[in-house]
Symmetry: C2
Subunit: 392 residues, 2 copies
């Protein structure tokens, strides 16, 4: 699959992280792109998040470049605002863009001053390396505790031409995005008005990034950006936009799921489906409650079909439902029917739960039509090992 037209990427090592591994990435759109973004809901917000919001307002949703560093979150630091603005200014000058068309992103440790000189010194060689082919390099550079880079692609053929979508993301811990994610960038070369782009992003995030959790912690730097630069010359009509939105949402779901698969210490990917809740929001709350229960997550790690923990976690979600009308299905096996134990072979199900992909389904029988799907991972000793010594 080809990349969207009219974007260039670059990555370099600026010396921000201690290991010599690219830590600075640049995404540039040849034509000013329409942009929509969602950011973290955490009360504590990093300087680049605050500046990014301002720039999007000032530029009326036009973005020419995104400058991303890993290894330092530029959050809760004395010089944070100056560093974020200084980096954007330096990039804007090099790329001949208005400064408010540069979006800054940072990810990494909180509370350590970020040295602006490291970024400004690296910028010339970063810009010199820009190329339409270096998408994967940029996806590598934004990684922190990620074990693998995370990218996703889509292509939609319309009468007037082909529209392409490409996305990259990072994230492995401190994952429970709310209205946003860790860092995610999705590019398309279709032409889409800003207002429609915003609505598409909001719905897409709701069905993807807002439906995952690794550890229930929401980061201070979460950012998800959707760019549309129109470089392929196609301006989708209303019907085509629906098709394109499905492709974009698909890319976002793939990216979000890759984060969960790479969850810190995770060995298993868990899909949680809730049906029959009073409404979709209630279903999502129940699913999130199950996904965030350490007892459910450790049971999955141990291949233990401990449906009592699933039912108990559902009951703690603050949503009204009748346990006596609730079934729990694990790996397709009904383990609980109407709130009671159903007969099943524990030995066989244990084996099925050894799979890398597990499924928990909670079906509430009754009048409710609320459904939700949520993705999480198991909780293993690896998570503890990684997070007992992240900074040192």
């Amino acid at each position: 699959m080809s990349l969207p037209l009219g974007y260039a990427y670059a990555a370099t090592y600026a010396g921000i992280r201690q290991v010599e591994k690219d830590d600075l990435a640049l995404i540039v759109s040849a034509l000013p792109a329409h942009a929509a973004a969602v950011f973290t809901q955490n009360r504590v917000q990093a300087a680049p998040v605050r500046l990014g919001r301002k720039h999007l307002v000032a530029s009326k949703g036009q973005v020419g470049a995104i400058l991303i560093n890993a290894g330092n979150a530029n959050c809760a630091t004395r010089t944070g605002d100056a560093v974020a603005l200084g980096s954007c200014k330096a990039a804007a000058k090099l790329l001949r863009l208005p400064v408010n068309q540069v979006l800054p992103s940072s990810t990494g440790v909180i509370g350590v001053e970020l040295d602006a000189a490291k970024i400004t010194n690296a910028l010339p060689r970063l810009a010199a390396g820009l190329s339409g082919e270096r998408f994967e390099d940029a996806a590598h550079a934004i990684m922190t505790t990620d074990l693998v880079p995370k990218t996703a692609f889509a292509e939609v053929k319309f009468r007037r031409g082909t529209v392409r979508v490409a996305g990259m993301t990072k994230g492995s811990g401190m994952i429970q995005p709310l209205m946003a994610t860790t860092l995610g960038y999705v590019m398309t070369d279709a032409q889409i008005p800003v207002t429609q782009l915003r609505a598409m992003l909001k719905r897409g995030a709701e069905a993807s990034y807002n439906r995952i959790s690794v550890d229930g912690d929401t980061s201070t730097n979460d950012t998800l950006v959707l760019l549309a630069n129109g470089a392929c010359g196609v301006k989708p009509d209303a019907k085509e936009l629906v098709k394109l939105e499905a492709a974009i949402t698909g890319v976002m779901q793939s990216l979000a799921q890759q984060i969960v698969r790479d969850g810190e210490g995770a060995k298993k990917f868990v899909t949680i489906t809730v049906t029959g809740a009073p409404d979709a929001a209630g279903a999502a709350r129940i699913a999130r409650g199950i996904a965030n229960s350490p007892l459910v997550k450790t049971a999955i790690a141990g291949s233990d079909p401990n449906w009592g923990r699933v039912l108990s976690a559902a009951g703690n979600a603050g949503v009204a439902f009748d346990p006596a009308k609730t079934d729990v299905i694990m790996q397709g096996v009904a383990v609980c029917k109407g709130g009671l134990a159903a007969p099943f072979s524990e030995e066989e199900l244990k084996q099925k739960l050894d799979a890398a992909d597990c499924e928990i389904r909670v079906a509430i029988r009754g009048k409710g039509k609320g459904e939700a799907r949520f993705w999480t991972c198991d909780l293993t000793e690896g998570y503890i090992r990684i997070n007992g010594s992240y900074r040192t």
Copy 2:
């Protein structure tokens, strides 16, 4: 310290748990005691919780006996209601009490049928063993994954005599009581009207059991009971009641903290104090958010003064506060001032964090007067090991 007058205790092995270790306990008050109880807020409630509520209403808050089994939660089982009622009836007959003066409690695995015969067969020898001295035996019998029994005592001297308080509790995992706890029983020999007893229990639980968390999961069987049988002949006046309530709350706090110290896999006991929040409820929400953050809990396990995670967890609690006016103090060392890194010796603080007791203080400077204290433990590989194979 002596035990409250007029109570007797017993424990035996009824064969409910597989290991041969007492699993059935009985607490009897010689005089019918005034009783108040709070129960789990989980939507999924065990049969003994439902029956206990009914009995308290029917008896107008009179309790003669509490029958407790460990090893099986009697929750989400076909025969749950019948087993709970049958056990109470058998105990009531033996003890010559109205059935609604017997409170049932169960703790253990969810979703496995509890064999009523095991309890009714064991009851005669259980009742035969009743003694004012077997308080510790009962405290042992109610344990599940607990490593140690948990008891606390108080004595208050009034003009007309001495009032005594004794409490026992269990719990180690699935701990985030809300309006209740895992299982807890507090007895006093003072004479206290039921309405006042209820208010005392509510306030006491709010300051003790509702301020702890091991893993953020709320059990289906949480029950905290306060009994006052008047056996010491003292009916405290209004002023004395305040003093007695402080003693009772102290016993509850000690019990609650013992649960956290015995938290599954826990190596450290963590006290979280929040000051300067908009109100007390907001302070408690922030404290709970910090206490439930896996990233904070693993940092404490690793003796890592990672205050960025503390600040981020506070920011996720859904409470309005200004991060730029927020200090974080760990083990008495200011690590973050006004939302920014404060200078401190990382080496020295790491050593201080190796202590078994850790303290995290979040001080928001401003007009807010909301304060809260919360207790939690660190998150270690031991928690994962215990919960990856609980049932097998």
